[in-house]
């Protein structure tokens, strides 16, 4: 008979304000096999963990169930506590009563409490059948792959090669540098953008560890952290490379207006990126009006693209310095922090005009005999004013690249609703994907300034370098195995395995299926394909999942009023 301990977390108010934790504890203590049921204000705190540890030792527990938040973030923590107390970490079962209960049933505490009880009962029934496991290890290909040769990709590559790691840098265009090639200067740095870019490109090119693939697209990716097989299409030719880790640095592109503010019809109305090219030529800018949030912060594209205000500030200063006049028509100036706020102040002091408009009353652009007029309702003055200009620069947001969808599909990594890549956790895992061994940096994740891009690229490079430097990755013990007595060697599992990890072999005079565990990734497709009960997945056996269903039936249907 197992000795199960159940620990219910209040998570401060997060669970306890909806679910009656005391009631769940009382209920849990009546479940078969449960020796002790307890609760903690925060199970994940040192105090909570300590009390779990002590309870395991005092009550000689051999199975642990924690009902708290999500296993996706907290399972490793509780597993390690089990290990510290001498219980194999695979004898731990997590029940999610926060994301899947208290938070989503905030207005019905009684029902949420009942559901929490059922979820705990299901977890306990599974826990009773858990078995100890040992983990395997696999080696890591000591090479990294960086997708995208813009600023983010270049810096990540530079870092990896400087740390002695062979790195493939894949760029779909014929030259490195991405969007930066079109940019005149990078505020707040004094050097010209092209000088800075050249420095970085030269550094990468000079390293014999960097393998640059221009005119190259990603064609196929298989494998897992430590051992990815990547098929590249290099100028029409297929090429296969292996990598231990992959960094996505595919960047973003600027939104091209669809006729807003006379773009395409009124001469002199151009985008910010087009204006950057003008500035690069050294042409006199004349009188310039910048319009912010063109195609962003409005229904349809709600987000703020973070960098456009600062770009306009920088370019407005350039205009003033070149003897022109500059007016920035904006909704809020997004110059967060020290550097950008200083730029804003400088622009103000050097004579750049600022006019605030409202989303409900956007500026209007008219063509005049000479030049253009921008008519703006000034929110502060409460008046409509007209500004004459030679050029109207539309500050459009960065939007996701069309082909990021394909990259996402090939790598099996998610994108958000705007098409930017979705990191593993928006707060604490900004440069990682949920998929092990694949990382993200730069504007492919979210519009970022050059400086931010550099930091993120270094961050992603660190994450990619870690498994390569360690030389091994641990394989979670969720692999499949065969109960040879039940196996009829029908071969369904062999055909269903996406990794060709199963074969039929002769064993003790009987033909049976056999799983190669280093190839098995623990998807369990073979389990469902098996017409018998022969194929099993560690931690998800048919008995364990069957017991969870039985438990739900028992507590929801048989014992409910």
């Amino acid at each position: 008979m197992p000795r199960i301990g159940v620990f219910i977390c209040h998570c401060g108010h997060n669970i306890a304000s909806t679910v009656s934790v005391e009631e769940v504890v009382r209920f849990a203590s009546t479940l078969p096999g449960v020796i002790v049921a307890d609760h903690n204000l925060y199970s994940c705190s040192e105090e909570g963990l300590d009390s779990i540890r002590k309870s395991i030792e005092q009550n000689k527990l051999d199975r642990v169930v924690v009902a708290a938040c999500t296993p996706r973030t907290h399972e490793p923590l509780f597993r390690s506590v089990c290990e510290q107390a001498g219980v194999n970490k695979y004898l731990f079962e997590f029940v999610n009563i926060r994301e899947h209960c208290s938070w989503i049933h905030a207005k019905e505490p009684a029902n949420a409490t009942e559901k929490a009880k059922r979820l705990v009962a299901m977890g306990v029934s599974k826990a009773a059948l858990l078995e100890p496991q040992t983990e395997g290890e696999s080696s890591v290909t000591p090479t990294a792959l960086v997708i995208g040769g813009g600023l983010a990709g270049l810096r990540a590559t530079a870092s990896l090669v400087a740390q002695g790691i062979d790195t493939h840098l894949v760029e779909k265009e014929s030259r490195l540098g991405g969007l930066l090639n079109d940019i005149s200067a990078l505020a707040p740095y004094s050097e010209d953008a092209s000088t800075l870019l050249k420095e970085l490109v030269d550094e990468v090119k000079a390293s014999n560890k960097a393998h640059i693939h221009l005119n190259t697209k990603l064609q196929g990716v298989t494998g897992f952290v430590g051992n990815f097989n990547v098929v590249l299409n290099e100028a029409g030719k297929e090429k296969e490379v292996r990598a231990g880790a992959i960094i996505v640095a595919t960047g973003a592109r600027d939104f091209i207006p669809t006729g807003e503010y006379g773009y395409g019809s009124v001469p002199g109305v151009i985008t910010q990126l087009e204006f950057e090219r003008v500035l690069k030529t050294g042409e006199k800018p004349g009188r310039v009006v910048f319009i912010q949030c063109v195609g962003s912060r409005q229904p349809g594209r709600e987000y703020c693209s973070r960098i456009c205000c600062n770009t306009s500030l920088k370019n407005a200063l350039k205009v003033v310095e070149a003897g022109g006049t500059a007016t920035i028509v904006h909704r809020d100036i997004m110059s967060s922090g020290t550097v950008w706020e200083e730029l804003y102040r400088n622009a103000s002091e050097k004579g750049v005009q600022f006019i605030r408009y409202m989303l409900s009353d956007p500026p209007r652009i008219h063509k005049k005999a000479t030049g253009i007029a921008a008519e703006v309702y000034d929110e502060a003055l409460g008046e409509r004013i007209e500004v004459d200009a030679d050029r109207v620069v539309l500050a459009t947001p960065l939007v996701s690249r069309v082909d990021s969808a394909e990259v996402g599909k090939l790598l099996k990594v998610p994108r958000d609703k705007h098409g930017f890549f979705l990191e593993a956790h928006v707060k604490l895992r900004p440069v990682e994907f949920a998929t092990d061994g694949v990382f993200i940096c730069g504007s492919a994740r979210w519009p970022s300034s050059a400086k931010e891009t550099m930091s993120q690229a270094l961050g992603a490079a660190a994450k990619a370098a870690i498994p390569i430097k360690r030389g091994k990755v641990v394989i979670e013990a969720i692999t499949a195995w065969v109960d040879a007595d039940k196996c009829a060697a029908c071969g369904n599992c062999v055909v269903s395995c996406p990794y060709e990890a199963i074969e039929i072999v002769e064993q003790d005079g009987k033909r049976v299926a056999k799983v190669n565990e280093t190839q098995c990734k623990g998807c369990g497709a073979c389990v469902a394909a098996c017409p018998n009960d022969a194929m099993q997945q560690r931690g998800f056996t048919t008995r364990q999942l069957g017991a969870m269903i039985d438990s739900l039936v028992k507590h929801a249907l048989e014992e409910s009023p």
């Binding site: 108010h13 923590l77 002695g164 958000d416 707060k427």
Partner: protein, 432 residues
């Protein structure tokens, strides 16, 4: 022997930097001034824009940090001196006397219950008291108590000794002295974060003069289930539930006479707090007085839109000119200039006012920069002038990340902290 790295500051940036540097195989020494790691993030109730519970996501990292084989924690410790040069810095750490035998303390808290001395609780931003012997917060790492020598009666007056009597583990040591630890470090990482500017210096905002004016960090503690009010939204003057709140942005920041820079995170945390108060008290109304609504991160603008449409938060573009006590003890009167065509001043009464003060480099960072021989920028943050290496200070081998370098939010700090590990990998490649 693995090369050593010293990380100064145990907030989220320091913790993440430690974890990644340690995973790369270096030995990391984390020096934290207070008795526990966790930093400012540990004080927050929730985080924007997902309203993820702050400690819930931070706590696992704190514990991983404490349990990592390559990380050594020096809590309640400060940097005494720094000598040498890259890649052999000689760092002397002063481990301040906790007056506790750290190996014996079980963190049971018996001593805390019995201690007769009450002092304002820093972690709770002065909203409650703690004892002279204390655990800074329930989730503290390490879970060891500390005796505050300034307030302990036994240490100051040789009278009391209660804690020693009740401690069954025999962990109390009134005579403990500071200890010095010398480390030869290949690199140093500065992650000293921020403090709140003391907004009572700006008398027009009424902090100190009006009881119902609090700082945003105090509100975080009020909203926290583990905080001084058990998560009940009440105002300080009379303990009643406020129904009408106002937030003031840029208190001391973006201010020519005080701090010229923007603190980066206030627009978003005020939005978050205005949503959270509504979840605590469904009919509460919030007004945010702001200059520019800076919602530049992932999901931020959507968050602001949701606050406005779904939670009825009123965004008022105006900088209040004065805050006066309302009639009697409770409430505040806020006078501000109207914008948007209707000009003129207006005075409005609120039940409670929350100030979002400038976030300034943490206390002592100037002295630390002196010890480290690194330059500060004109806003007193550590200077990071390099284009290619934005986390390099002005001195080779000394790296800076997070708020210590520039105001930034948690994900930016975390990304930089991971970046530090790469930068150290680059700098130390081939260095013996």
């Amino acid at each position: 022997m693995p090369k050593k790295v010293v990380v100064i500051g145990g907030g989220i940036a320091g913790i993440q930097a430690c974890l990644d540097i340690a995973e790369m195989g270096y030995e990391v020494h984390l020096v934290e001034r207070t008795p526990s790691i966790g930093g400012r993030m540990a004080q927050l109730d929730k985080t924007f824009p997902t309203n993820d519970c702050s400690l819930c996501i931070l706590s696992p990292k704190m514990i991983m940090c404490a349990g990592h084989e390559n990380i050594k924690l020096h809590t309640y410790s400060e940097i005494q001196s720094v000598g040498g040069e890259f890649p052999r810095f000689k760092v002397r750490i002063r481990e301040k006397a906790r007056h506790i035998a750290i190996n014996r303390c079980t963190g049971c808290g018996d001593c805390v219950t019995k201690c007769p001395v009450k002092v304002p609780n820093e972690f709770e931003e002065g909203l409650s008291t703690r004892k002279a012997i204390y655990l800074p917060f329930p989730q503290a790492v390490p879970r060891k108590v500390t005796i505050d020598a300034v307030h302990c009666r036994m240490i100051t007056e040789k009278k009391c000794g209660v804690c020693k009597k009740v401690c069954q583990a025999g962990a109390i040591d009134y005579d403990q002295k500071d200890a010095l630890v010398d480390i030869v470090a290949a690199a140093i990482v500065v992650t000293t974060g921020f403090d709140l500017f003391d907004a009572s210096a700006l008398r027009q905002y009424g902090l100190g003069a009006c009881k119902d004016v609090v700082t945003s960090l105090q509100l975080e503690r009020i909203l926290s289930a583990a905080g001084p009010t058990g998560g009940h939204l009440v105002r300080p003057s009379d303990g009643k539930e406020p129904k009408k709140l106002a937030f003031v942005q840029c208190v001391g920041s973006r201010d020519a006479k005080m701090f010229q820079y923007c603190s980066s995170v206030c627009c978003m945390y005020a939005t978050k707090e205005s949503i959270l108060v509504r979840e605590h008290v469904p009919d509460v109304e919030s007004t945010i007085f702001y200059m520019d609504m800076r919602a530049t991160g992932k999901g931020f603008q959507e968050f602001v839109n949701r606050a406005e449409k779904q939670y009825g938060v009123r965004y008022m573009r105006s900088r209040p000119a004065s805050v006066q006590p309302a009639h009697g003890e409770s409430g505040v009167l806020v006078t501000y200039e109207m914008v948007g065509g209707i000009t003129g001043q207006k005075t409005e009464e609120f039940d409670m006012l929350i100030l979002c003060p400038a976030l300034v480099p943490s206390r002592g960072s100037e002295e630390l920069s002196g010890l480290l021989k690194i330059e500060l920028d004109k806003d007193k943050f550590a200077s990071t002038p390099s284009w290619k290496n934005p986390i390099d200070s002005t001195r080779r081998g000394v790296l800076v990340c997070g708020f210590a370098a520039e105001p930034m939010d948690i994900p930016d700090s975390v990304a930089q902290a991971s970046g530090v590990a790469s930068r150290i990998g680059e700098l130390l490649q081939g260095v013996s």
